[in-house]
């Protein structure tokens, strides 16, 4: 049994079939890269995994637990979506940091809310809650340190470069300890000289065996960091395999064309 099993996911927006039956597995500690030209459905797939979109049909299983099964009814309540989202993290192309909070507070905000809710449910004492929240802050500081931003903890997003903001966003996602962390073109909004710092943070996570699904146009990076690569084309998986198999694939004209287009 794989950590994540995605089966026959389809997604329609009105008449447009954006995902046309996507199936794949992700093992624990594995890095999966999703590549493919713009409009092929990569973002939509990540959004389905993070329950920002509800698949039209298909099944998503995590550690054997069914997170979504269109045959059991499509409508999840807000509460159910929220529970399921917590298994995943998502780092956006546009960072989406909360502008009114410092880097540190961006990392702690959701984790604190969650911790507080959990402890309140357990009827923990005020002192215990305070201690737990202190723990959340300490961990957040460590996370910022791990993405190389311990000196920026008190800065607001508008005082940070794009690369720094994206690293805060990664720390923020990690604070909730997701089982699978997804990235949607994490460096596409960055100036070329800033992509390196973000990619090396992701490489660091891979080295620590974080399970990740990464949508990227950085082919060298994908080649180096991935255990598995999926090439998507018009809502289907066109090619799937190890980096060598996918990037060395000379028989598929589509991928050749795509690789040529991103390499120049």
């Amino acid at each position: 049994m794989s950590l994540l099993e995605v089966r026959d996911i389809t997604k329609n927006f009105g008449k447009a079939e954006v995902l046309k039956g996507i199936s794949f597995d992700v093992e624990k500690g594995e890095v999966l890269s999703l590549i493919g030209s713009s409009g092929s459905g990569k973002t939509t797939l990540l959004r389905c995994l993070n329950f920002l979109e509800t698949p039209t049909s298909g099944k998503i299983t995590l550690s054997g637990e069914t997170l979504y099964d269109s045959e059991e009814g499509r409508n999840l309540s807000d509460r159910e979506k929220r529970d399921r989202r917590l298994h995943f993290g998502l780092v956006f192309q546009q960072f989406n940091l909360f502008p009114q909070y410092t880097a540190l507070k961006n990392v702690t905000l959701a984790a604190e809310l969650l911790k507080r809710e959990e402890l309140k449910r357990e009827k923990a004492s005020a002192a215990a809650i305070k201690e737990a929240l202190e723990g959340v802050r300490l961990k957040a500081a460590e996370l910022l340190d791990s993405v190389g931003l311990s000196d920026k903890a008190d800065n607001y997003p508008c005082q940070l470069s794009g690369g720094q903001q994206q690293r805060v966003a990664i720390a923020r996602a990690l604070a909730l300890e997701p089982e699978i962390l997804c990235f949607d073109e994490p460096t596409s909004a960055l100036d070329p000289e800033l992509t390196g710092e973000v990619l090396s943070v992701i490489k660091g996570l891979a080295a620590r065996k974080m399970t990740m699904i990464i949508v990227t146009h950085e082919m060298e990076f994908a080649k180096n960091v991935s255990d598995k690569v999926i090439f998507m084309d018009s809502g289907v998986i066109a090619v799937e395999g190890t980096p060598d198999e996918v990037f060395g694939n000379s028989s598929n004209a589509r991928i050749q064309k795509f690789l040529k287009s991103v390499n120049n």
Partner: protein, 236 residues
């Protein structure tokens, strides 16, 4: 008639009127600020009938003069009660109108102002809320936050920052709109000054009221400038 009232006496009388003006202003803000938020939620509701009902209501209130609304609210209940008596009907609504008919002019003014300003505020809130990118909500969702938490912890302050300029405009307009209260016999600053025309034939107290409005609007402008500066630590 040579100066039968002194400058000091006029000032005191005008201050009295100004207090009444402040009361209309303060009570209107107190109720219209939160009510406007409720109305803006209504106008953004995914439940279509509610959304259109609210939109039509906002259209009516913004599309008619505040002066007309004051007159309707002040005289309307009385007319309805009279008509109901003639027809011999009586129900909950007529009872309510009867009660309203006995409200003081001041209360009626505040009711009309609250309704009017809540509608204007609701449109400003709506503009502010809709200007926040979807990415902010989605970032909250993927972090396991609830809709409520996202609104109050993430969205609200960004909205506040964006709506300060249009809100300060509207609130400064409110200061001057309070002078409409006197058409339904509610006492306020202009009325206080007009009394001197009738009783003493003095015009200058009326001009003097401008100083009060100017001073108050000046203070508000400074206050909003201060809030804007306070919120300038972040960009959104």
């Amino acid at each position: 008639m040579i100066a039968s009232v002194t400058f000091g006496e006029v000032t005191l009388k005008l201050l009295e009127g100004f207090l009444s003006t402040l009361k209309i202003f303060g009570l209107t803000l107190l109720f219209a600020l939160p009510l406007g938020l409720v109305i803006s939620f209504g106008s953004m509701s995914r439940f279509k009938p509610l959304k259109y009902l609210v939109k039509v209501f906002v259209w009516i209130i913004r599309g008619t003069p505040l002066m007309l609304q004051l007159i309707v609210i002040y005289y309307g209940p009385g007319l309805i009660v009279m008509a109901a008596r003639k027809a011999g009907t009586s129900n909950f609504f007529i009872d309510l109108m009867e009660k309203m008919n006995n409200f003081s002019a001041m209360t009626m003014v505040v009711i009309a102002f609250v309704i009017n300003y809540a509608c204007y505020f609701s449109e400003i809130y709506r503009g502010g809320i809709e200007s926040i990118t979807q990415g902010q909500y989605e970032a909250g969702y993927v972090l396991g936050m609830t809709k409520r938490q996202i609104f109050f912890k993430v969205i609200l302050l960004q909205v506040v920052k964006r709506i300060i300029p249009p809100m300060s405009n509207e609130i400064i307009t409110l200061v001057k709109d309070t002078s409409l209260a006197r058409i339904i016999t509610a006492y306020e600053l202009i009325w206080a000054a007009q009394k001197f025309i009738k009783s003493e034939g003095l015009l200058w107290p009326l001009l003097y009221t401008g100083v009060f409005y100017l001073a108050f609007c000046g203070i508000l402008t400074l206050l909003f400038g201060y809030i804007e500066k306070k919120l300038s630590y972040f960009r959104s």
